[in-house]
Symmetry: D3
Subunit: 232 residues, 6 copies
C-alpha cells in the first residue's frame, strides 16, 4: 500500500524528517511518499499560515488521485484543510492532531499537549472542541519556540520539550502526552524513554491508522458530507 | 468609514447583489466596497470550495491594509478563513454566519437556519458548535438547490426558500430564522414580510456590527491569538 | 430613533453617568433616554437585588410602550428580567452582559470579565452558560469593591479595575476584557488606552446593537417564546 | 418542623390544593404552611409573570425569617427567584422543578416533562440547562391549556395530561415523567396508576427533600454566593 | 420500612460504622440493614476494585428481593454497579455519590469533593460528567490516604480531611463540600461544626432520599432501561 | 505479537465467530487468542449482564499477565470493565465500542449505531457521552432482537440489520454506520457491500488499533489513573 504523507509547509528538511518517522513505524509492505508543497509557508504557526498552506496541500492530494494512493496524512498539528481533503480524496485522510488524540485516549484517561508557540494553543483547543476531546485534555503547554527551531536548533528545542513534558507529567494529573507539532515526530522515542509515560506523536499514529483503515477496507465516506466537491 | 465586503466566490453578479444589500443598510457615512477574488470558485458549497476561496479572500484583505479600511466582511455563510483574516487585518473582521447568529439570539430564544445544499448543513453545524450557539439553533434546513440558483433562477430559489421558512416557523419551536447563504441577502426583506417572523441575513447584520465596533473604537485584538502572522 | 437606557438600580448618579456613556457612542439621530426606577435597590449585587430591581425595570418598559421607543437597554451586568422584558416590549431589548459578550467574541478568541464584588461572579458565570459563551471566557475576576464605590470613590475603583485588567491581560491567555458592571462604562476609554487591549463595555455595546437591529428592521420576535404575557 | 410552601401566583384555590398535596406526603411531625402572595399574577405562564410574582414570593420568605421556618418551597415549575430566595433565607429553599428533576434521575435514565402552555417549555429547557439535566430529559411536552384550567376545568385538563403522559411513555424512550406545573400536583397519584410508570410531582418531591435536609441538619450555605444580600 | 445499606467492600468495621451513620438520620420507623459481601475487596480504590466488588453487591440485592426491602443504598462513592442494581431491584437504589451531589446542589451553587487516594479522583470526575454535575463541582481534592486509614488511623485521617476541607472553603469559590468516601460518613457532623459550611455525606443523604422516594411511592422504573435483566 | 480477544459472554459459538473476524484482518504475524469466560452470562443485554460478565473478563486478563500478551480486546459493545482492565493489564486494552467510534470519525462527519435490543441503546449513549462522541452520533437504532439471534437465526438477524442500516443511510444525515454488537462482526463485509457506505465493526477495528499501538510501542499508561490496583 501507498501512503502520501504531506508536510503542508515548504521545509524540505522537515518533510524528510517526517518521512523518516513515518517509515520507521510503517509495515514493510507500506510505501511512504513524503511530500511538501513547492510554494506556501515555511512553517505553520497560526490560522493564516494554515489557510495559505491548505491550497498546496490540497493540490498534492488532487495530483495523486489517479495513482491509487491508499491514504493521505496531513502532517501539521492543526489538521489544516482536513474536511476539504476528505472531499477530494477517495482514500482515507487523517490529520496528525486527531490521530494523536485518538491514540492517547486509548491508553490514558487524560493527556496534555506540548506545542511550539503560545499562539498555536488556540488551534489545538479548537480541534479538541470540534473532535469532542476537550474533557480528555488536561492542559495545553507550549515551549515558546518557533517551529523551525525544531530543525535549526534541535538540541535547544529538545531540551525545552523534555522539560515541558516532565512538568506536564508531574503537575497535570495525566497519563500521556501528545506532541503538538509534526516536527517533533523524530523526538518521540527519546522523549518516551526519558519522560517515562506514553508520548504520542501524530505522524506515526496517523501512519498506523491509515494502515488500519486500509486493512479494514474502510475508505472516506462519499455518502453525504464528504461527497466530491460540486462541479460548477 | 470604509467597509470591505468580500464575496469569496468569483461571481460578479452575487458580489454586486451582496454589495447592494450592504449599502441598503449602511450609514450614509459608510462606504461599502464590495469585491470578489479574480480566481477561485464560482460558488462555495463545501469544505474544499472554502479552502480554495480562502486564498483569494485573504489576498483581498492584505491588499487594502495600507488603505485604512475600517472593517472587513466575509460574505459567505461558512465564515471561511475568519481567524486567518483576523490575524492579517487591523480592523475588525466579521463573518456573515456569526453576524446572523449573534443578531438572532438578541430577538428570539431559538432560531432555525435555512441554507442551500444539504452538504452545507455540516458547515453551519460546526460553526454553531465553535461559536457556542448549538443550543440556540433548533434545526438546520436546506432548499436543496445550488448556490448559483439564487442568481440564475431567482424565482425558483425564492419560492423554495419561502416554503422552507414557513415550515420552520410552523414546526421548529423558534422565534427567528437565519438565512444560510450570502446570496439570499437580497431576499430578506420580502421574506420577512411574507413569513412574519424576524428573518436574519448575515450580510446586512455584519455591516451594522462593523459600524458598531467602529463607533466603539474596538478593533481586532492584536494581543495573543490574533497577532499578525509570524515572519519566517 | 429613541432608546430607553434603564439603570435598574435607583442611583441617579449612576443613571446619569450611564446615560452619558450611551450618548457618547450613539448616532446623532438617536435619542438616549436614561432612566432608573423610583423604588428598588441602590445597587445590584446579588440575585435578591436583581429580583427586586426587576419590577421597577419592567414597569419602566411598560410605561413607554405607547411612545414608540425603538429599543430598551437593561444596564445591569446580570441582564435582570431580560426574557420578561422581551415579552412586554415590541422593540428589541438588550442586556449589557450579552451585548459585551457578543462584541468581545468578534475581536478576540477569548476574554476575561472584571466585575465588582466576588459574589456577582456566579451571576456572570450563569449568563455565560445560558448564552453559550462559557468556553470563550477565560476567567471571571473581581475588584472586591461594592458597586457604589464606582460613584463614590471613583479613583480607588479605577485603580483596582486597571490593576485587575492588567493582570488579566498578562495571565489569562485572552485578547479582550469585558467590564462587568454598568457603572464601569465611563472608565472604558481610559482603560482601553492604559491596558492596551480591547476593553468592552456593555452599555455602549448595547446602544450600537439596538441601533443595528433598528437599521435592519429587526424587532423582538413575537412568535413563540416572547409573545406578550397571557391575559388572565 | 415547619415548611412554608409558597404558591407564587395569587390563586387561593391552587394554594389550597398544593397545600393538601404537600400535607399528604409530609411527616406527621411536619407542619405545612401553604401561602400565596396577596398581589401579583393569577397564574405564571411566562417570564414576565415570573418576574412579577418573584417580589411577593420573596416578601413571604422575608416575613417569616423570625419564625424559625425549617424550609421553603417555591411551588411554581419555573423555580422563580430561587437563587434570590436562598440569599434571604437561612433554612433550605427548593424549587419544584429542581425537586422533580432530582427525583426522576434516581429512578429512571431519562424522563419527559409535561407542562401546560407551549410557551412555558422554554422555561423548563433553561432550567434543565442550568441544573445540568439537559441530557436526562428526552422531551418537553405540553397540553396547551392555561394553568388555571387545572382548577377550573379539572376533568378536561386531566384528560389532556393523561393522554400526553401516555404518548410520552410510548414514544419518548423514557422511564419516568415529570409534571411541569404545581397545579398538577393533585393529579399525580391517579396519573401514576393509569400511566403505569413513575410520575414525579415537584411539590411532593420538594416536601420530602426539605424534610431530608432538615434531618441531615443541612441548611442553605451562607458562605459565598448565597450570603445575605449586601446592605446598601 | 426497610433499607438495605450495602458497603460493597468486605470491611465489617466500615460496614458497622456506615450502618451507625445511616441509623443516626433514619426515621424511627425505618429499619437499617447494613451489610457487606463475604468475598471481594477490603477497600475500593479504583476501577478494578469496583468491578470485583460489584458481584457481591448485586448478590446482596438479589438475595433480599423476596423480603420486601424498600430501598437499597450503594455505600461506595463510585456508585459501582448502580445501573445494574436498578435492573434487578424493584425498590429504589441510590448511590452515595449521586445522593451527595443532589443534596449539595440544593444548598450551594458549587461544591468541592474531598476523596481519599488521588487515583479515585477520576471516578468522581466521570460520575459528575455522567450525572450532569460537572459545572457544579469546583474541584476534586484528595487526602492521599488509603480508604482503610479511615478505620485504622481515624485521627490522622480526620486531621487530613479537616485540613483539606478548610483549604477547599478558602480557595475553591464554593458553598459546600461533598465527602468522597463512605468511610468518612462518621466524621460529617464534627467536620460541619469545625469547617463551618455545609458538608454533605452521601450515606446519610441516601437514607433520606430513599425514605423520600418511599413516602412518594416512587420506585425504580421498570419501563425501559431498568427492566429486569433478560432471561437467556 | 499476541492479542487476546475476549468475548465476555459464555457463548463459545460467538467467541469462535469473533475470533474468525479478528483473524481475518490481523497481520500474518499477529496471533489471535479468542477466549470467553467459563461462567457468567450467555449474552450481554443490559447493565446487570455487564457487571456479572466483568469478573470473568478480568480474570481472563489477569491469567495471561505472565504470558507477554501484546494487547487485549473487550469484544462486547458496552466496553464492560474497560477502565478496570486497563488497571490490571500492562499491554493496551481496547473496547470494541470505542474502537468503532474512533474509526468512524476518521471517515465520516457523523455516524449512526445499529444495536440489538432497545434496552442496550442507553449503554451506547452513555459511552458516547463518556468518550466525547455524542455530537458525532446522529441516531442509535436497534433491530429489537436478542443477541443470541445473531447466532441462532443468522438470516433473520442479518435481514433486520440490513434494513436498519439502509434506513439509517437514507434518513440520518450520516456518512457511516457503527455495528453495535460483537456478534455482528461476521456480517460487516456483506453489509458494507449491500449498504454502500462504510460500516464499522468494533472487533476488527480493535485488532488494528492494538496492532497500531504495538507498532508505536505505546502501552497502557501506568502513571496515574491506570496504575495497578492497590494492594490491601
Amino acid at each position: 500500500m501507498k501512503i502520501q504523507v504531506i508536510n503542508p509547509n515548504t521545509s524540505k528538511d522537515m518533510t524528510h524528517s517526517i518521512g523518516l518517522s513515518a517509515k520507521h513505524v510503517a509495515l514493510p509492505t507500506t510505501e511512504i511518499i513524503a511530500v511538501c508543497p513547492e510554494y506556501g509557508v515555511a512553517s505553520i504557526e497560526g490560522h493564516y499560515d494554515e489557510a495559505i498552506a491548505s491550497v498546496g496541500l490540497l493540490e498534492l492530494i488532487q495530483n495523486v488521485q489517479s495513482e491509487k494512493m491508499d491514504g493521505h496524512i496531513i502532517a501539521c498539528f492543526g489538521d489544516p484543510a482536513l474536511h476539504a481533503a476528505r472531499e477530494i480524496a477517495t482514500a482515507p485522510v487523517i490529520g496528525i492532531a486527531e490521530a494523536a488524540f485518538h491514540m492517547a485516549t486509548l491508553v490514558a484517561t487524560k493527556f496534555s499537549i506540548v506545542t511550539t508557540l503560545a499562539r498555536t494553543k488556540i488551534i489545538a483547543e479548537h480541534l479538541l472542541h470540534e473532535y469532542g476531546f476537550t474533557q480528555k485534555c488536561a492542559k495545553i503547554r507550549c515551549i515558546d519556540l518557533p517551529v523551525r527551531t525544531l530543525e535549526e536548533q534541535e538540541d535547544v528545542a529538545y531540551a525545552q520539550l523534555r522539560a515541558s513534558c516532565i512538568e506536564a507529567k508531574e503537575h497535570d494529573d495525566i497519563g500521556a502526552i501528545v506532541l503538538g507539532c509534526g516536527g517533533m515526530s523524530k523526538m518521540v522515542e527519546q522523549l518516551s524513554k526519558e519522560v517515562g509515560i506514553p508520548i504520542i506523536d501524530g505522524v506515526t499514529a496517523a501512519v498506523k491508522l491509515i494502515e488500519s483503515l486500509h486493512a479494514l477496507n474502510i475508505k472516506t465516506s462519499k455518502w453525504g458530507d464528504y461527497a466530491p466537491p460540486t462541479v460548477k
